[in-house]
Amino acid sequence: MTDLPTTHVNLKGVLTSSAPTADHSEGMSYLQSVPRRLVTLYLPLSIIVFVLLFPFYWMALTAVKPDAQLLDMETYSPFWTWNPTFKHFYKLLFESHYPMWLWNTMYVAVCATFLSIVASVLAAYAIVRLRYKGANLVGGLIFLAYLVPPSILFIPLATVVFQYGLFDSPLALILTYPTILIPFSTWLLMGYFKTIPFELEECALIDGASRWQILIKIVLPLAVPGLISAFIFCFTLCWNEFIYALTFLQSTVNKTVPVAIVNEFVDGDVYRWGSLMAGALAGSLPLVILYAFFVEHYVSAMTGAVKE
């Protein structure tokens, strides 16, 4: 909605800068003594960061611990292991369908993301720059679509998917995920397109470029950071999606990682924890690596979509 707050934030600065760079002020942190900062800043911060990161440490540790040490917490200290094993990963890769699930997830995420980005680029460009009659209304409706949660749509969508004969096929997810991704990435890209000067397009129009050429040759190259942000965020959302995948897929080999781990790995076995955690770790790793490379884009996607 156009009347939401549109505070312009230096998005890239969120990760690196501490204070606004607007007036080059140092802030007043130098007034605080070290012991005081220790108690008011470092202590609470380290507690929160510890709590936020501990589950990952635990996940990783469990994934490499031998089974005997996992269940015997008295003879071995549970917080560390001196003889890590890759047995759980081995079991995962060679004795289960895990590579298949990883491939499914990747395939669905890439296809759905690609489809949504193409659709959103066209829609965002039309809303921001073609400004056809009712563009603002359509923009508002797309924002509303962002607020419709999957958990009230999965039941009717299941019947729709069944009617179209898509049940238990990756196509069901590839076609339904864009409903989550398009509203988000359209809003994100609208923000980016707004920052591209009109004059560039006017020049191109005078030189006889069609709207399509303007979009491909002028707007898109200038909006690359926005495209990367949208791509990464969409990809993460796809990877994370659960309820559609749980509802629309049935056969073991077609499942995506999150659904497969919850449904196929959870059995009565007390020794399941190692491979379960290995599976969770291996499933999160691609996203964490992607995130490590594109932190700034990620943050700008997250904060950008909220602020537009």
């Binding site: 934030v9 009659k133 499933g283 999160s284």
Partner: protein, 319 residues
Amino acid sequence: MADIAITPAKAKSQIREATSWDQLKHNRNWLGFWFMVPAMAFLILFLAYPLGLGIWLSFTDTKIGRVGQFIGYENYEWLWDDAIFWLSVFNTLLYTFVASAIKFGIGLYLALLLNENMPFKAMLRAAVLIPFIVPTVLSALAFWWIFDSQFSIISWSLKHLGIINQNINFLGDPTWARICVIFANIWRGVPFVAITLLAGLQTVSPSLYEAATLDGASRWQMFRHITYPLLTPIIAVVMTFSVLFTFTDFQLIWAMTRGGPVNATHLMATLSYQRAIIAGQLGEGAAIASAMIPFLLAAIMVSWFGLQRRKWQQGENND
């Protein structure tokens, strides 16, 4: 010059009438329409249509594999007398309120902390966001293991510290189970709130704080009268999203407890999945899902009007 002046009629004849094909290619509204087709096709086919269909299904007795008959309000009447449904409504409200309030508190606090000058701040900020990146289900599994009834590391640590004698049955006891899922939800939601608010905090000029210090303001007064008012619009947006996604949460619960023990953690979303997909009562499940809509609308309205009132702070004078 003269040539041009003499032959206006000829030049005119070269401009042909715009055909309807040209209209379709160049008219702004038609072009806009063509550009919108892919996005609209997706959103209408797989969002708007199912939304309507869901409400229709809630008035039928559709089951898996059987087309339903229109039965009016029967599903809703049935739910009205269903204690488990009301329990799930209560759980959902409790879950949403408690988790959102704590997420807001800790998120704001963390944002304020991260806004300070310190070494390794870029790395810290990047690390804080990791819980938000990792797929919810996978981190929920980690919590499931952490909250295991026998091998929980928390029970172990507390036992060794001498605080408790017996393992806590985290996910087996109704109260503990609620605390655990709320904790996991907070854990996952805090980074989003914190990083978004941090982006807002950075728009606040430090000179305001300097001025306030000269006027003798305490830290609390500075927070209350500078930071908080300037942050309100972003808080409203972030909390709308947070409340919305907490209210409709499904995957965290499904991975950790599946609604148990004794339905103590069943949210409306998980209950509708259980009734619709597992039990096959699509109509009844759709009714539960549709029952979420009024709550969602209310949440959107509250934050919407909360935003409107704060508009003057953005320098716009339409209040």
